[in-house]
Symmetry: D3
Subunit: 242 residues, 6 copies
């Protein structure tokens, strides 16, 4: 089982400044086309960007003789262990097979994750106690809200194995970044370079957006041709001088 090994502070800082849109473009340029978690939305509106390494929990369909409320007294139950073992600063990523008829987590468990300093939650299933969770300062991404508890639909199998989440592969330690658009999965070994290049791209596109707001047309500007690149470079140089 691979242990999340710590994200460089600079990488984390840069990722907090970039949009998931920009990150998917950087990953596309590296040949990765399927990096955006499908079908989930941010269910806790405020509280900023989510950045953290994936700590995974895998669910399969429930079986009535195995899955019932009493099983949670078992301290080795993977769902409960996930709540206490997901490292501070990591993101709990849960494979629910896109099944939304039950919530895989509720407000008490989310409150505990928040207490423990976990960076966020991403699941392609549902959460329960949605009205209570919405108020927590914890980034939570889910495919919806559903009142029924997990054991009627899900059987928790294992921790920190590679999973599918919203039709994207997530390996333990992959860097998950979430803004209000959604969640992008960055393979662990690419995190530093993608963060750096994405921040660069953000700066250029922010300048381009200002040009557009100043009335410029997009041809030659977006994407920038040589002349535009020169103007941008001059602007950047000018800023640095200040």
């Amino acid at each position: 089982m691979s242990e999340p090994s710590g994200l460089a502070e600079e990488t984390r800082r840069l990722l907090e400044l970039t949009s998931t849109a920009t990150l998917t473009t950087q990953l596309f340029k590296r040949g990765l086309r399927n990096t955006f978690v499908q079908g989930v939305r941010r269910v806790t509106p405020g509280h900023g960007v989510m950045v953290g390494e994936a700590f995974t929990l895998r669910m399969i369909p429930a079986r009535e003789d195995l899955d019932h409320p009493d099983m949670f007294t078992d301290r080795s139950h993977p769902q409960r262990r996930a709540i206490e073992e997901c490292p501070p600063g990591a993101v709990l990523a849960i494979d629910c097979r896109k099944e939304t008829r039950a919530g895989c987590l509720g407000d008490i468990l989310c409150a505990r994750l928040l207490e423990r300093g976990v960076a966020g939650v991403v699941t392609d299933g549902a959460v329960r106690d949605l009205p209570q969770i919405e108020a927590l300062p914890l980034p939570v991404y889910a495919a919806g809200g559903a009142a029924p508890a997990s054991f009627g639909v899900h059987h928790a199998v294992d921790l920190n194995q590679p999973i599918a989440c919203g039709d994207v592969a997530e390996f333990p330690g992959d860097v998950l970044v979430g803004d209000r658009e959604g969640v992008v999965v960055i393979p662990r070994h690419l995190a530093d370079e993608v963060a750096r290049d994405a921040a660069e791209q953000e700066q250029l596109e922010s300048w381009i957006l200002n040009e557009v707001k100043a009335g410029k047309g997009i041809f030659g500007l977006y994407p920038p041709d040589a002349e535009t690149r020169a103007r941008y470079q001059a602007w950047r140089d000018g800023r640095r001088e200040r």
Copy 2:
């Protein structure tokens, strides 16, 4: 045709204090696994919890020779009768076969339901005039909003028969409870005991949530072991003494 027979005041009061999440757990403990209406959301954000007995309306697909604007002049039309006959305090539950291409109700009919003291509306189809309905102090749950009128898609068949709504069975008189998460269906004969036990569970979980916020881990706490139960009992006893 079963007539809704009045919900005990205490039961109604307790149900207004409990979340749909807690109610599904109480129903699960009684062997009922499929009680949460799938695929609907609260479309009128404010105005509190919905509690009421189901008064049902059933739709089948429209047939062009039967379904057109003129049919509404017929006072025996089931959709129009539903608006005037749904008892005050009851919930109008509409089976639209999860079809959302047309609205089964619009703002005028919702305003009339509100005038008549109806407790809310639940449909697995769409409503129309969504922007206007959003402003009404009436709990409305639907699978979405759609501008087209019902007669292009739906044919109203009958009132107060058992229906499917969001993949859940709803019998006339069943108690429907809705919060911002969604709607749970409580079989009529279970309403009193479920309300009582759910209120009990809410109180325990509220105490547990406070423990979590105070930094406690979930093992032994949630679900509570004997020691935790004893601490909870002591806390309750202490409160009562005050």
Copy 3:
């Protein structure tokens, strides 16, 4: 290629006052049952009603050798041309085959459309940079938000051809009207008469809604019988006299 030919000022004014619900009813009366764009929502909450003639862009699935970031340097690329050629006052309508895994437009292109005076955007696909787009005073309707850029999923083919959008036919020049409920497609030749009759219907239904709020029942009122129509006419005549 048909050129949008200018919407009469009175027609535009009336359409801005009518709901999409009312417009679908007027179209239904003329035999058109499939006029409401399915599966899209207003992603930019504020900024009023959208009215404009359709300028269309058509996408087919991407092919890796044709679709990559570099292609946007080509000034004949249909997606980029759409941004600069969609007439002021028109609506850019994009056929994405209901595919939401990538955004067909992002914030820079939307900002440019806004600068150019375009009336809005409707797509049955996704947009990207949703958090940034939400802040723009431009009506945008989409099936969702997705971070990945268009070229991974879509190949832009042509401009101003008839398209499918949300399971509705859209011909260049058709009048698209959008409120918070969604978007209705009015065939170009019907725009004037539909606008006029819809405004008439709105006025009647507004009066009916007031009657309902005053406690009237719906039988004989909605739809109005002869007596109700007489009362309404009297009220109208009275208003005009003032």
Copy 4:
């Protein structure tokens, strides 16, 4: 409850000679656009065309306390009553809400329907014991095969009420015609005239098909222009003379 009232022998004979394709065209000409049961297939390959009046059975979702194997000992159970009460020559039409996780009928019940002279079965759900049913000389249309028994998924509610089946309205007594393409629903009052005109259309199209096979192009032939109609009439007259 309307009682199926007997289909004229000539109507039945003509319907057995026409394809469902031709019947949908005749219904379309009468303004009925939604008459073909969606999502079902003929699961019993041989044994000819199915023609009969609809006898309906309606299912809603199962509830665990009501639906279990023991309930079938109750002789008033609607599913069991349907088997013994569906009239000979009628078609048993079952509304399963397009839910295919369980079979609504198995081989024993189908064998009994066959014994009783029932004309066929149509359901938008699944049947069970599919391998055994395939061998029966009984037209059966279903959305698939599923081993689990009905009571885990369906609760039988009532008989001979209007139902939805494959997104089409089916009223008791409507005439259901099935060939290897699928099932068309003919409103009872139109059966005679549709049967007559469809047979007429079949004869014309059969002649057109022969023309095509003889090398004729479709312009002027299909649909036939005046000259083609004259040639067809001459051919018909010639045949009659023989």
Copy 5:
């Protein structure tokens, strides 16, 4: 990792004689409601019933840098290991997340499984080389056929872990039984008793079917009342005497 431990010969023999329909009923009586693999069909028509213990292979979505044709040269690749390690008499069960855009196995690998004496294949994804596979005397169940190879869509992760397959939980060693209707999953510890009781039920229902064919009605017969049970018992006793 649990090792499949050998199925009793008598249990295997009985399971080969029972239908999946009967097996789901026996499992339902033991409280297991979700045991039938959804969405798959037998793609190799002939060659009898499939019985064997599950040997599982799990797929997650592909990642372009990890999944390409060259990876198959790696002898530790889980998909290739599955082909050589699945025990004779076991069933290879593959979790493809119901994704059918690529085949998870083709004709060469199926031919190898056949050579090695594997009892069958079950996947909720697709197979490729379907026309060739159809001719193999190997029971194969899949959600469809798709020409593209697995590596464009799937990343093979691990062997003999619990999986989801067609919305059912499959644990290594569970007994998978497949007939032409589909596949049922029997938890390992229930296999012997379920096999025995199912065989018993088959015999009773076979007798009931004969009664129906002889013209008996279903009331009192199916399910059998006391008198019918007595008649059945007499018939059984009579047979044994012979």
Copy 6:
């Protein structure tokens, strides 16, 4: 409008010998991952492989005032023109937006295509008169069969424009190859080299399959390592000498 320009006889011959599975692998090696038409099946079982250049027809949703039986008398109607203009040896490819509620072609039009020497039909919609079409010696691929005529659901727009078909891009002139598994789209400029390399791959895999049938394991064999390649080469050389 690009005119299909004739497929080299050798390319056609080789493509008739290769499976769609092999072709998708050759395209994948050239970076094309999305080449297999999703969701269609061969509805005319016999009559061999389909090879031909795409002649495309595009449908959008029907509009009641434009689409009705009478419009087919218009000789410029794109659907009718497609039947008479699709070149002999080409494949008629129809974009139906995966909509299967109506057939886009029936038996008379298919018979005419057969007469004219067209190589086949591919649509992501449905065909009608399926039972009659099944008997024609014409390869037809569709998502299903549906009795209703096209005009109730589809509006034919244009010919020989790029289309989407089963979630794959199809450009006029692309080479469509169909076997019993389905249909693969080969970009026109790659047809010759893909045909050649695919034939090569088929020969190797056919030899590998024989090795497997002779009891060889797959490691080192499939994919072949250096030693296996040498053995294969020796076998090929030996064959040539004969």
